[in-house]
Structures are given as C-alpha cells and as structure tokens.
C-alpha cells in the first residue's frame, strides 16, 4: 500500500506576510490586489480574518464591511515563490516524488516509511525554518491525502487509512472532493448526492450517464480507488502550458476591444513560447464576466505553432463562438497548451506554407526589436486606433499584467 502525503501551507500568502511583519500576527489581515487596477480581491487571509467571515476571492470592499479593522496588505509574488521553493527543497529531502499543486500545496510519495512521522517532521521544520504552519494529510492515495490536509487547520496532521476512511471521508460534503467545481457541485446536490458517501452509494452507471467520464472519476475518488501516481520531481518541472491573462481597467463590451486585447495577449504568449522553444497544439480562451463567472473554450490547431498570428486567429474564433457581446467581460486570457519542444526537432509540413514562413520571420524580428528597444518599440497598428487604456492592458506591461498559467508546472 502506498503512503501519500498532501502538505498544505496554511493561509500561505498571509502567513508569509506575518513572517516579515510580526506585528500582524493574530490580527485580521488580507492579502489583496490593487482595487484601482481592478484587482481588488482577497487572495489570502489570516485565521482572524477568516473568523470574521472573509472569503478568498471576495472584493476588498465587502471584506472591509465584514471586518472594519481588516489590515489589507499588497501581494508580493516574488516572496511567495521563494518561500514555495524553500518548502519544496525541504520536501525533496524526504522524497524524490514531489508534485506541487499550486505554490502552497504539494503531494509527496513516501511509500515504505512512516507517513505520520514524516508529516510531523515537515510541520516542525516549516515552523522552525520558515515560520509558517502546515496541514498535512496522510493517506493511501492522493485524493484522500488532500482531504486529510483540509480536515484540521492550522498546523495539524490527519491520517486517513483503509480502515477509517468510511467514517472520516464519507460524511464529508461532496464538494470537498478534488476537482469538483461549483457547477458539478450544484448538479450533485440536485440529484441528492450531498456527501462523498452518497456518491459511493450511487449506482456507478447512473453516475456515468449523468456526468460522463467525470462520473467514473467521481466514483473512483469517493471509493478510494484513485491510483494516480505522485510525479517525480524532475517531471513536475516540465512546462505544460504558456498563457497570459489580463483584467483591464475597463469592462470589455464589444468585439473590437476584446479583439485588441486578445492580440496583445497572443503576442505575449507567442513570444514567450518562442523564447522557451515551444509550439502549442491547443489554444484555450478564458473569459470572466463582470459577475465573476468564468468559462474556458479550447481549440485544437491544425499544426503546432509558436506564431501570434495563429494563436490570435484561434482565440478570435473561440471568442466569436463563446461570447455574443451580450454581457461585459472583466478579464480575458489566452493559453497555449499541449506543448511540443522544438529543440528535439519539429514536424515539417509536406506542403510548405510560405505565408507561415514569412510570418515567422516577421515575429522573430519583432522579438529582436522588443529585446533591444523594449516592448513599446513596436506594437500592432490596431492599437493606434484606440486610446492608451488598451496599452495599459498589455500583458507585458508592468501596469496590468497577471499570468494565467505563466510558465506553469501543471496544466491549468
């Protein structure tokens, strides 16, 4: 039987901020983006803020209504990435199979050793060396280990074994299972499947009929039959996708603005792919409306590409398919996935495409100009028709950039 650990850094961003500002300890603090850039949402909060009912993802102004004495701290991504790397260095001393899940969570495969002892050692070291606390779940698969780390917070270990999982896991709400989003949660509740135990007791075939392949996965997860391996450290460093998203300072109400922003995003994504010697086979468009409802659409490309022209063509087609300009958009994102590393050789087309070759030369020349003279040395003509608010939405600009998957170690 495997021994899998899931380690979750408690209130990660807020905890790191407290390490640098001890006077914040014990107070209600929230790490929030800048409201003037329309990034004013709660990214992380301390336990004291949590007690006031503040939730991750809510707007700063509603958080302040719930807790007038709330201390708002701006985020410092660099610091969080550094702490995350230090934490992963500690994990690597215990196992060569460490799979990160975001900056603050990781799975470790420590099969053959005492999981409880390692969990306690990890918690002790995180506190002693970094000043942060962990919740660690110990179990025989990844899904239950993750549930274990959610059970007791902060600074705790929970063990879920083949003997106790029916008592510990099955009474938990169905939505606590990994990968169950809001939509699936509502559907599960509509069918009366309120707990994880309800999912196991349901007929697997009915689940398949209702949820397709996801129904099979749901059943397997709930029944403790998840056999997904924890990836080795070397493989988790692999880049799975390259993407960018942005929340401009204005709502996007028509195709013309949306199109311009997509061009900017595609330029940035393509340039980064070329720099990393990748070509993508799929393009994903991510949209979020002003009600904060997000959705993604994906398209497979005819041939792998690292050209902005190909990405923007696909992204614009996806935009037309998925958005009727009937509701304003708040954020847009583009991601190239299913990457191919062209350092190992690229598949050549039987029929050469002179247009694509010319486009490649053009875009590589643009890369060189950007590298020598900066991002604003050369930009698309479509942007000249607009005021400078769009340039502020440029993903490469430091003014309004947010990475969607950046150079991510996992598929988003």
């Amino acid at each position: 039987m495997r021994t899998i650990l899931h380690s979750d850094c408690n209130n990660f961003y807020a905890s790191v901020e407290c390490v640098f500002s001890p006077e914040l300890r014990g107070k209600p603090i929230a790490v929030c983006g800048d409201p003037s850039e329309r990034h004013g949402i709660v990214l992380a909060k301390s336990d004291a803020a949590k007690k006031c009912g503040i939730k991750t993802g809510e707007a700063v102004w509603t958080a302040r209504q719930k807790c007038p004495e709330l201390i708002v701290v701006p985020p410092c991504g660099e610091k969080y990435v550094r702490f995350s790397h230090m934490m992963r260095d500690i994990y690597a001393e215990y196992s060569d199979h460490v799979e990160p899940f975001g900056l603050d969570e990781s799975w470790l495969d420590v099969t053959g050793r005492d999981g409880m002892e390692i969990a306690c050692s990890l918690r002790r070291r995180a506190l002693k060396e970094l000043g942060i606390t962990l919740s660690v779940g110990v179990s025989f698969n990844k899904v239950f280990a993750k549930l274990g780390s959610d059970m007791h917070k902060p600074d705790a270990t929970a063990v879920i074994t083949p003997r106790n999982y029916k008592q510990k896991v099955w009474p938990m709400p169905a939505c606590s299972l990994l990968f169950i989003g809001r939509a699936t949660m509502h559907r599960l509740y509509a069918y009366g499947l309120n707990t994880i135990g309800d999912i196991v007791r349901a007929d697997p075939e009915s689940l398949h009929t209702l949820f397709g392949k996801n129904g099979d996965t749901l059943y397997a997860y709930a029944a403790g039959k998840d056999d997904a391996p924890v990836m080795p450290i070397s493989e988790t460093d692999d880049i799975k996708s390259v993407g960018n998203s942005t929340t401009p300072a204005f709502d996007i109400c028509d195709y013309s603005d949306a199109g311009r922003i997509l061009y900017l995003l595609c330029d940035s994504v393509a340039e980064r792919m070329r720099k990393k010697h990748f070509r993508c086979r799929t393009v994903t468009l991510w949209l979020r409306d002003t009600q904060l409802q997000s959705f993604t659409r994906q398209m497979k490309l005819e041939r792998p590409t690292d050209l902005s022209a190909d990405l923007s063509r696909a992204a614009l087609a996806l935009l037309r398919e998925s958005w009727a300009a009937d509701r304003p958009l708040r954020s847009l994102g583009v991601q190239g996935g299913d990457l191919m590393d062209i350092r190992n050789g690229a598949q050549l087309s039987i029929l050469p495409d002179p247009l694509a070759s010319r486009q490649a030369v053009l875009e590589k020349t643009a890369d060189q100009l950007h590298a020598r003279f900066g991002a604003e040395a050369l930009y698309r003509g479509v942007l000249l028709r607009q005021d400078h608010r769009l340039l502020r939405a440029a993903p490469d600009s430091s003014l309004a950039a947010t990475n969607m998957a950046a150079v991510s170690g996992r598929q988003s």
Binding site: V19, F20, P22, F83, K128, E129, L130, G131
Partner: protein, 85 residues
C-alpha cells in the same frame, strides 16, 4: 518592539563556499564575533524576516545574525536601543 537593522559584515568564504561572519559593523562601531555557535534557516521572530540564522557570541552575549535572500545581513535590534543612538 524590535527592528530589523541591516549591518555591514566581514566574513570568511572558505574553499568550499562556507561563509563564516567574523565581525559586524553597526553605526560606525565594529564588533568582533568570537564564535559562531550555530547556523540554520530560520525566521526572525522578533523583527520579522527570514534567512540563514547565525547564532554568534560577541563578548559574553549571544545574538542572532541573519543573512537574507538578498544577501543582506541583519540583526534584531530593540527599537529603544536604535533610537537612543
């Protein structure tokens, strides 16, 4: 209340890359480090911050000296002491 006070440090870098601080300069005064008693990553619990924490003996007193991620050395100093100079 404690402050994170950045200091100038003289250190020996040996042939294996091991760094050993030998003296600290603070506001024009140099303090010789008699002995390094310990070294490990740790948070600076009083002043805030995190880095490699050196436990050092200066004269008869023990104190912590931190080397942070930006290669800057700092000590935890009582706010009253810092203001009195």
């Amino acid at each position: 209340m404690y402050l994170r006070t950045y200091v100038q440090v003289s250190a020996i870098f040996d042939e294996n890359g091991v760094v050993t601080p030998v003296s600290i300069s603070l506001r024009g005064k140099t303090y010789s480090i008699d002995r390094v008693l310990g070294k490990r990553p740790a948070p600076a619990l009083k002043s805030g911050g995190q880095g490699i924490r050196y436990t050092v003996r200066i004269g008869s007193s023990e104190t912590y000296l931190f080397l942070d991620a930006e290669n800057r050395w700092f000590v935890e100093e009582k706010a009253a002491d810092a203001n009195s100079i």
